[in-house]
Symmetry: C2
Subunit: 139 residues, 2 copies
DNA sequence: CTAAACTGTATCAAAAGAGGTTACAAAATA
DNA sequence: TATTTTGTAACCTCTTTTGATACAGTTTAG
């Protein structure tokens, strides 16, 4: 496939914006640090804007910056802002509905999926962008 | 397909084996309930055998059955037995090592990845195959 | 007012993973 | 010995993600 790395890139992007403070950072610059194409960054920033985590300005001397303080950006927000996949997928084809197990499997798995997702969000809620920044800087 | 559904299928397969008790269940039968090809099931069973969760017998009147009691099979074992992907992937290309953020990003993200994975395993450890069986049967 | 600098997005190509299929060897049973 | 069943390799196709190009729309600077 091409495993989904949007969350990882988002953390990278946000860390750069956090370091930039109030200054607008250009997608070109960010792409240079992440080592990818500026469009990939802009696409991602678009999602982060929808979630009100960053603000971007179009036009000359435009760019992006954080919409709030790093200490107020929980990683769970970032996770929820992006189309990250589930930990495991359900089987694409519907199970055999004539089988007592197959019939009830999807509902069970779907519930389990949600529970796991909640665990992940809780874990990510323990960290803010400030924590990330500190770890990156002390390294 | 993109998303990995091996874990979901594994739970389905194991539930069927659990219902089958000591009897050997054929991959053909399981495939019928999951609604896929028998080879897909056998590939999965191969992983579950390596993890000593199931035992299979080759040859006429062969098939698979659980290697231990449903109450002793934690879903975390199943998760660990399979090549499930991480919640998020790291970026395929290495970040710009000249950038102070890029330079330290991978290490941080890798640590976060492991932490999340641990959360998932802890969550899944709360359930055994017996719990699954009960929920499936009461539905 | 115009040129330049950016973002926002559409569209396309390329890469990689997953699942599905067929085929067949090896093993166990009847 | 013929049959049944697993184990696995090989190959195809579908889907998703990333990367890349192109260009419209918006700001700012001069």
């Amino acid at each position: 496939m091409a495993a989904n790395s949007q969350f990882a890139i988002a953390i990278h992007v946000l860390t750069i914006l956090a370091k930039g403070g109030d200054e607008r950072v250009k997608s070109d610059y960010i792409a240079g640090s992440v080592n990818t194409n500026p469009v990939v960054i802009r696409r991602l920033l678009s999602n982060l804007q929808d979630a009100r985590i960053v603000v971007s300005q179009v036009g000359a001397s435009g760019g992006s910056s954080l919409a709030k303080q790093p200490k107020d950006i929980h990683l769970s927000e970032v996770y929820k802002a992006l189309p990250c996949g589930e930990v495991f997928a359900l089987h694409a084809k519907e199970a055999n509905q004539d089988c007592p197990v197959g019939k009830n499997m999807a509902a069970f798995l779907c519930g389990l999926q949600k529970e796991i997702d909640k665990s992940i969000e809780e874990k990510l809620h323990q960290y803010t962008l400030r924590d990330v920044l500190e770890k990156i800087e002390e390294a």
